[in-house]
Symmetry: C2
Subunit: 345 residues, 2 copies
DNA sequence: CCTTAGCACTCTGACGCGGAGAGTGCCAGT
DNA sequence: ACTGGCACTCTCCGCGTCAGAGTGCTAAGG
């Protein structure tokens, strides 16, 4: 893999033109069309030489001897990394975003679901998001609810998250012990999930054996809410866009793609792998999971204040309109950051 | 559309054989293969005559002049309605079901998600379910939570359902008024969602104007939980099975199918339309929505005691192994009924 | 030394053709 | 009422052909 500094300006321009033409048409692009439309002022023969060099360097591929060129993953990567400008949204897109964020914001979870659908409509790919974990959120309720043979642990966060878990009732736990435990839990209301979890662990260590178990269970519910481990959910929306006729996926690839989107656990780990500070792009084989899909992921974190609280983005074919996808993802992530910051303020 | 009593026993047998062969192979089936394998003791010429008659009656179709026959929706319908016996599960399927329902049952919602996935694995189609509404469930908690500029209405049901909604705080509602309202709500704990809703409406009529609005909002949360209207969620699992290579769907049909599966609202109404007492089958154009998919739905209700509380089933191509799908859906619905009844008892 | 015109070459995709195979529909005979 | 026989009709497959697109190379020119 050649260092991209090696690419002269004309080679870069040719690569750029090939990527854009291929993304637009979906067909292998020949030297003639580049010479005519890219405005480089050189003949197709020169373009051919450049293309051959770009192929040698691994940026372009050849379906067969006498077809045009197609970008490789490395080609897309170079294209994305050297994009001269941030993409601009079309007016209709800008308006759609504005309208979407106009309505009163009550529940971040709901906003996120809506935003994922918005992104899928804006880009015609599938939208996805990882909602915030709870660690720095304040608990406004922490309850143990007696459900007969079982108990429900219920935690409500400051910004509207509700986590519940139903657990087996520890042996011999009578109503008085339950009430006593619940009093202790009420004392945690107002502190953050992370703090509460730590305090619960300390309280458990100091408590009698039946209360001990119970407090550990509650701590575990908070742990799950914090890190989103077991109940880890990734919000997916507009996946049907991926089945669109214009996407070149083979049936089997499409099946795998859908299957993975259904497995939240796996999606979560993919999204964590690709996380970055700003808009980030993962192309085809750059990640083992996306390689199996022949797909790319564009994501951006959204923040509350300075802290990253979640991730939102899209999945689409490697032959993706990266400029527009990145612009859409960036715009939506920015609005989400505003909302998250406001809700936290 | 001919009344199916008109079909003689041999025509029925031929139709039966055609459906089974077509479901198995996916290819149009000719008279010869039926004559050989169906054991009717007549020649292919006779089968041909019967097939021509069945086509005339609308049960079979013809991709082109000299291809074999393919069942129409009406053909499948007759086949399903005259199935002589209930399908038997294969041992592996029986075992998978047994294992799945072995673990301790804590949360019906979780069980339902698991059951949908189980069904999708058993049948290789997509599983789907409508979870129980709450109307006859008892409220164990009904709370108003102060979240600063907003309020959260939180309802917890006897069997572990949790419904929340964040609403704008009515103007001028101070902490004392909130506490007063919450005391009233506590009085509802122990009665059913349906009763509580009715009582709330009466209380609202009697209350002062600021409390009035608040109580109506709470009543509405219960209404939504009861009927599952807005937050209506349909559990879908294993949708990726539908993208399997062996399914003959065109790309566009597949896209529509996925798109509808994402729209919970619409799925809900489809499932309500096809609801029945026992296992029910909706084939292709029998329902406008499934017609657009060229798909069939097999569902069965599950009950708590005598009352139907939810629905579970599968969606697959019209060329579906109905016998096996019906057996799987029936078996899972029965186990769910046991669990629901037990949780209610 | 870089660029370009020219040209031979290669590969795909569309088209048409013909034969094999599958299956039908119908008729006449039992 | 059933069946054997048969002509007929389609599809599917392999084949050869042809046009078109695009390449790679070479030799000439700035």
């Amino acid at each position: 893999m050649a260092d991209r500094a090696e690419l002269g300006p004309r080679k870069a321009a040719v690569l750029h033109a090939v990527v854009e033409a291929y993304v637009r048409t979906g067909e292998a692009v020949g030297s003639e069309s580049i010479a005519e439309h890219a405005g480089l002022g050189v003949s197709s023969a020169t373009i051919r030489n450049e293309m051959a060099a770009l192929e040698e360097l691994g940026y372009l591929g050849h379906p067969h001897t006498s077809a045009g060129r197609i970008p490789t993953d490395a080609g897309y990567r170079h294209y994305v990394d050297t994009l001269p400008a941030r993409g601009r949204l079309r007016d209709a897109q800008r308006r759609a975003i504005a309208i979407h964020f106009e309505e009163a914001i009550l529940d971040l979870e709901e906003v996120l679901k809506g935003s994922v659908l918005l992104l899928s409509r804006l880009t015609q790919y599938a939208g996805l998001a990882v909602p915030p974990g709870a660690s720095e959120e304040q608990l406004v309720r922490l309850e143990l609810i007696d459900m007969g043979p079982t108990l429900m642990v219920l935690a409500v966060g400051q910004h509207g998250r509700v986590d519940k878990q139903i657990v087996d009732r520890p042996e011999e736990l009578g109503a008085p012990a339950l009430a006593a435990a619940e009093r202790k839990l009420r004392a945690l209301q107002g502190s953050t999930y992370a703090d509460s979890q730590a305090r619960l662990l300390r309280m458990a260590a100091a408590a009698g054996s039946d209360e001990h178990d119970l407090l550990l269970i509650v701590a575990d519910v908070l742990r799950v809410a914090t890190r989103g481990e077991r109940a880890a959910h990734v919000v997916v929306g507009g996946a049907s866009n991926l089945a669109d006729e214009t996407q070149a996926w083979r049936r089997e690839t499409l099946r795998r793609l859908f299957a993975t989107l259904e497995r939240e656990q796996e999606m979560m780990s993919v999204l964590q792998d690709v996380a970055a500070d700003d808009v980030s792009v993962t192309i085809g084989a750059e990640h083992p999971t996306t390689a199996a899909w022949e797909a790319s992921i564009v994501t951006a974190p959204f923040r509350s204040g300075d802290a990253t609280v979640g991730t939102i983005g899209v999945v689409g074919p490697t032959r993706m309109d990266y400029l527009s996808a990145m612009a859409s993802v960036r715009a939506v992530a920015e609005r989400l950051s505003e909302i998250a910051t406001e809700l936290d303020g």
